[in-house]
Structure formats: C-alpha cells, structure tokens
Assembly symmetry: C2
Homo-oligomer: 226 residues x 2
C-alpha cells in the first residue's frame, strides 16, 4: 500500500476514488432482481467478467494466473493507496430493512479483500465486525459528507474508495465528493436495473474525461475532477 | 458510390446500416426540447461535435479542411454504397402532427447531402419533394418492414441507411432489421432526451460488437449482425 507521502517525503492530498465500476451501454451498473443466489441480479456475470479475468482479481481471490493487459492495468489501481472504503448497504448484502440475519458478514468470506476499515451506510446500525486480514465493517447512518469525514479519519491520510453500489456512487457524485472515477462501459443492453447516471445531468463539466478501449470489448473511462 | 457488385463482378448482399449515431453515456441520442432554433434540443452540439470536426462533414457541407483521423475513418463510411435512406419524421423537421408548413423541406437547404431517395416515416403523408443533387424526399405511412421494402426497391441493390432519429433506429433494431450499426459513445450525461436503448434488453446477443476510442474523447462501437 502506498503511503500518504510522495517520493520526496511531502504529504499527498487524500483523494476520494471509485474504481472498476462497470456500467452497461444503457447506463445500468447493477441488474434487477438481486438476491443471495444472484448477487448481480439478471446481469449475472456480464458486467464483471472483464474484471474477473484479470490477475488483480485472481490475486484478490487467492487464485493463480489472470490477464495482465489493459484491463488489469486499471483493475490493479483498486487497492494501492486506499485507507478506507465506503459502501452502500446493498453492496454488503441482499437483506433490506431491519437486519434479520446478523450472522451475515458480507459476500466475501472470513477474509475479505478490503484489508481496511469499511463503512457500510445503513439506516439500521449494528455493531462493528472485525474480519481476518485487516477488514473491519462499521455500520453507520450518515450523509455522504459525514461518512466521508469518518472514513478519512480512519484512512490516516490515505485515499478513500467509494465502493458502490450505484446508488451510493450517485449520491457521492451528486454531492461533488468524488475526485477520481474509473468507469468501465460494457457493450451490453441490460434494459433494467440500477442506473449509475440518474440525476447527474452535466456531470462531465466537473471532470476531465479520457477513454480507452480494451481487446476484451470494454471501454475504460476515467473521470478526473478539474 | 460503390456498386452492388464486388471486384469480381459478383452481386453483394444489400445491407441495412446505421452510421455516425451518437449516444451519451446515459443512453440518450437526442436532447430534450427540440425546436427549429435548437434541432438537437438541450444537447446542443455536444453529441455531434466529434463529427462536425471531420473532413467528411466538411465535404458534406461544402467546407474546406477537417480532421482525417479515427473519427473521420468512421464518418466517411456514411455515404459510399448507400442507395436510399429511411428517416423518422422528427429527423426531417421540428413540426409534429399534421403539416402546417408545407414549405419546410428539411434542415439541409436546397441541396441536401443524401443524394439518394429518402423515405420519411410519417402518419401525415404529403407529396414527394425532389431536391437538387439527387435527393428526393418521399413521405410514407408504413411499418419498418414495409418502409425497408420500398427503400430496397429504390436503392437498386445498394445498401439502405437508417438515418434516425433514435425512435426510428430503435424500431428497426427491435424488428431485427439492422445488419450493421456504428454508434458513438460521447462521454457526457444528458440526463433527459430520447433514449437509443429503451426496450432493447439483450440486443448484444444478435451482434458482434467492437469498440475503439478516439483522441477526441468519443468511443466508436460497431454492431455487426451474426
């Protein structure tokens, strides 16, 4: 993990980043009908297969191999320099409303890949859960700005990742709190699901935007705040 | 213009094509609030400026200069081999409902760039209009399949271009009538307007899809029917 100091020992400004965030041509970042059996809903693996093929994903999930081309060049930026993540409750699990199953500790097993504090936004607060490997889930009922203040404090000068889902990324974008966003346009038409772009008309005015296509068929788009 | 025969003199199958069709990241191919003063509605020039900068557009509009890079490589495919165009009434002009101004002859002046028969889909039929330079506008009240039959007849073995707007392209896609489509993803969030993708869930299953980004910031995406 990078430190919060550059090579000359000078402090680097902490940034708020989004990485590896897939979106269909029609603007959906999650399928409809999500459940414990279908975490991506009717989208299945279609939005994420550019990512699951990369070496970064293989390392993250304890597998050998994986591609090391353009897709991995982007995928590998997910971890370094990050000191905390903020995620929406719908990313943490399929339950909605009051917690009925407090045994649920996320999709990621006993040793989640985050290895930092993770702040889960929910109206239904519950005790923090310390996992193996450095991940601790904290459950907070907070506005984007409040959650970011808590995450920055916990990140100790490192960057904060906004991990999704789409509604959470949208809220942070709408509040002007994202410094850097990596979106991956997947050439499929999902037709339904959760939109990444709703309510964000004119978003491009606040960012420098660059695009590059990969031989896997997806296009990586970076948004860097002016 | 190419002939309908290949270099060995063998007939080439006539195809139905879409070219230079811009779409925002959130899936809109036309802005809201179109009018005679604002043909692209609130989108203004944002969806088309990758195109208006090209040599192809400059030639089409009687200007010198223009770029000849990746954007122009795609833009230049618009004309060759096309024998007829089908367009929706909303592309032809800003009037809706019964024609109140029959003097209106389209946005393109006395010598439109089409130089072929152009079939305008409308529930309000009116006499054909012959323009300078080979363009004749025919007004027909027809289904996509009926319009295509008429256009193929008029095209004399050459290809038929579906010229837009978004509703017209969508109808032809939904009817399975498009063989090749060139879409240009422009990295802006329009927020409102006319969607290109509504009702087309799973469209990717019928096409081979390739993508390439251009230094202008847009990404060219081709759909080629299996």
């Amino acid at each position: 993990m990078n430190s919060a100091f550059d090579q000359r020992g000078l402090p680097v400004m902490s940034r708020v980043r989004v990485h590896n965030f897939s979106v269909s041509l029609d603007g959906f970042s999650a399928g409809a009908d999500q459940s414990q059996e279908a975490p991506f809903g009717h989208a299945g693996q279609r939005l994420v297969q550019w990512f699951t093929g990369t070496r970064s994903f293989h390392v993250m999930t304890g597998q050998e191999g994986g591609s090391v081309g353009i897709d991995d060049a982007f995928a590998s930026n997910w971890g370094p320099g990050i000191g905390a993540e903020i995620m929406g409750r719908n990313k943490f699990g399929p339950q909605r409303g009051p917690w009925t199953d407090e045994e649920w500790k996320g999709w990621w097993g006993e040793e989640p890949p985050f290895r930092t504090p993770v702040f889960v936004l929910t109206h239904h607060v519950r005790p923090s859960i310390e996992m193996k490997g450095g991940t601790t889930f904290h459950f907070i009922d907070a506005s984007p700005a409040e959650a970011l203040a808590a995450a920055k404090e916990a990140a100790g000068g490192l960057d904060v990742r906004i991990g999704g889902g789409p509604a959470t990324v949208r809220q942070f974008l709408a509040a002007g709190l994202i410094d850097h966003m990596h979106v991956v346009v997947v050439p499929i038409i999902l037709g339904r699901g959760e939109s990444l772009w709703d309510g964000l008309e004119g978003l491009e005015e606040s960012f420098i935007i660059e695009s590059v296509s990969s031989s896997s068929g997806v296009t990586h788009v970076t948004f860097t705040r002016h």
